[in-house]
Symmetry: C2
């Protein structure tokens, strides 16, 4: 547990002095007070995260973590499990939503096999994906823990290791996910940490109807009842009702926070990973930027637990990192405002009357 | 009135066949049904506007219309009128919010002097701004019409002419404004068209306190009472309680619509211009993309009248075109999704069960 322990120890809060310096400059820009609203809050965060008045964010990388879920045996998803590996091939071919949106903002996309139920070894050998497989999907958490505690640690350490290896080449991290059935563990994680009943943190995933929804809620209730995850123990929650890709996301976030780099949290599944990271180290939340609010109702509760207000609200529910890619445009914009807009004194513009 | 008349006659609805073709493709993309939500709605709009499955949007131009307002004599703004020309110099020097955000998205910024209270001839002669001045600011609309009906036509035709001259070099238009005091005519315009009392469509502008707010509401009530703008007559509303830059914005929108090109509506003042354009030609609204919802309460009502849901909600209240610039990132993203994401058949990914 050295890597995990060392990483958690390395995470410290944002730098208050850089936040204050950025705040003073943003207040003095040639515009009415704080007239770019939450874009200025974001600029202040970026200064505090990166310890810089010119926050480096040019080199952007999205890591799309893929994994399968034994709980799909309970019929919680509309799509067959084979879609997970098929979508990995689609990512590699550049034809998925995340590829298009990452290209738009100039981010790389790296697909990580955290445990897909299918043979990904060809893609891994060809260097098309990173392989950090824990196994061919989690066990069915409606019958017992999704994974062992030791496996949970391995998922998180895989994410940390990926962030560390990217330390010299990436300024801005983004999370993403792919895994048929993974709104089910995400809802279970939000239920475990929030104490909300399953029905309040469960959504319609990829498009199930009301009858399927009722069934999904019952399965999540069963997973929680059988496993009794301990909300004070992030690894326990991850092991019992999580997923391999969710652990990888948690690790990526912790790794980025330890590097003092911003990490954009994509959607609902990424928020579940962020809750695990937050449980392991509350200060890690200071490095998270919430991309968007999805239509999944559990996402809203997860963001509240993280204390985050998302940047985007466009009814997205795709995952993959697509929301993170979109939000990176605003991060670029915030840095432009901090570094390129003149102050009243610089531009010799008259100030407001008191 | 030939240019205005001809332009209004040239505006036709979006193309239904291209909308339908885009809809079919977007439904077939390798993602759960409509999983990129409002980004897909936007892609469908862009296909319908541009009559293309590859909507051209690369060449982006924001026109920041500047004008002054006689009504500032009533003490409705916190800032002195000299800030309008000072900000024009700031735009030209590249130091304002709009400059930074336009650079981020790769848009040009053209400042148009629609009637600033100050000598802008040097900048115009040097080619740094476009001069379409109607006069050195509007008259005080608390004492009578802000401008004559003939002047109102000239402001709109100036905007149309700017759009027409840009026809060969611009794919995507964005509106913007600068004018101390211009939330006052904007609120009056929204009150005139919506029938809401002034207090419900008035906000705190650049940051006035509650006492100043009460005063501003009284002034807007007086402007409406004295002038009695006719909500069925867009030019009457513009002339009586509008502004030169607001008329220019209305014209730019009508010009873009006649060219079958998308135009991004910035914030509250641009929405007031959009209401004028909409009153002159309801179909023009089909070419408008609402950038954001500002903190000005009248903006929300204006967007409802236009039937538009904005893309961004970040507590912006700057104007200048900053919201339009930010929203252009999403327009790029929507086109990427339409043109670059594979369908289920193309990618050989399994579909959902019925």
């Amino acid at each position: 547990m050295n890597l995990l322990h060392d990483t958690l120890s390395a995470i410290v809060p944002q730098d208050a002095a850089f936040r204050a310096q950025a705040h003073r400059r943003l207040e003095a820009l040639t515009m009415p007070y704080w007239a770019l609203g939450r874009l200025l809050d974001l600029a202040e965060d970026l200064a505090g995260i990166t310890r810089s008045m010119r926050p480096p964010i040019a080199r952007k990388a999205i890591f799309t973590m893929a994994g399968d879920h034994g709980v799909v045996a309970e019929g919680v998803s509309k799509y067959p499990q084979e879609v997970t590996p098929q979508m990995v091939y689609n990512f590699v071919a550049g034809g998925a939503g995340i590829n298009a949106l990452a290209r738009q903002v100039g981010a790389t996309v790296t697909v990580v096999d955290m445990g897909v139920a299918g043979d990904m070894s060809g893609l891994a050998a060809a260097g098309k994906i990173l392989s950090r497989r824990i196994g061919p999907g989690t066990r069915n958490m409606a019958e017992g823990p999704a994974m062992s505690r030791e496996e949970a640690v391995r998922t998180v350490e895989a994410g940390i290791d990926i962030a560390r290896k990217a330390a010299e080449t990436v300024d801005l991290f983004g999370t993403g996910d792919m895994g048929i059935g993974n709104t089910t563990p995400s809802s279970a994680i939000v239920a475990a940490f929030s104490g909300h009943p399953a029905a309040e943190v469960t959504g319609h995933g990829t498009g199930i109807d009301n009858e399927q929804f009722t069934h999904k809620v019952r399965i999540i209730e069963k997973c929680l009842r059988i496993n009794r995850p301990d909300p004070k123990d992030g690894l326990d929650v991850l092991a019992k009702v999580g997923g391999f890709e969710i652990g990888g996301i948690a690790g990526l976030i912790l790794g980025a926070a330890a590097l003092k780099k911003p990490v954009v949290i994509d959607g609902f599944i990424s928020a579940a990973g962020a809750l695990i990271a937050h449980a392991l180290c509350p200060a890690a939340a200071e490095y998270m930027i919430a991309a968007h609010r999805s239509v999944e109702q559990g996402h809203r509760i997860a963001l509240e637990l993280l204390g985050k207000q998302p940047l985007i609200d466009l009814d997205l529910r795709l995952g993959e990192g697509t929301g993170a890619a979109l939000a990176m445009n605003f991060i670029e914009a915030a840095v432009r405002v901090l570094t390129e807009v003149a102050t009243f004194d610089e531009a010799m513009v008259s100030k407001a009357s008191a």
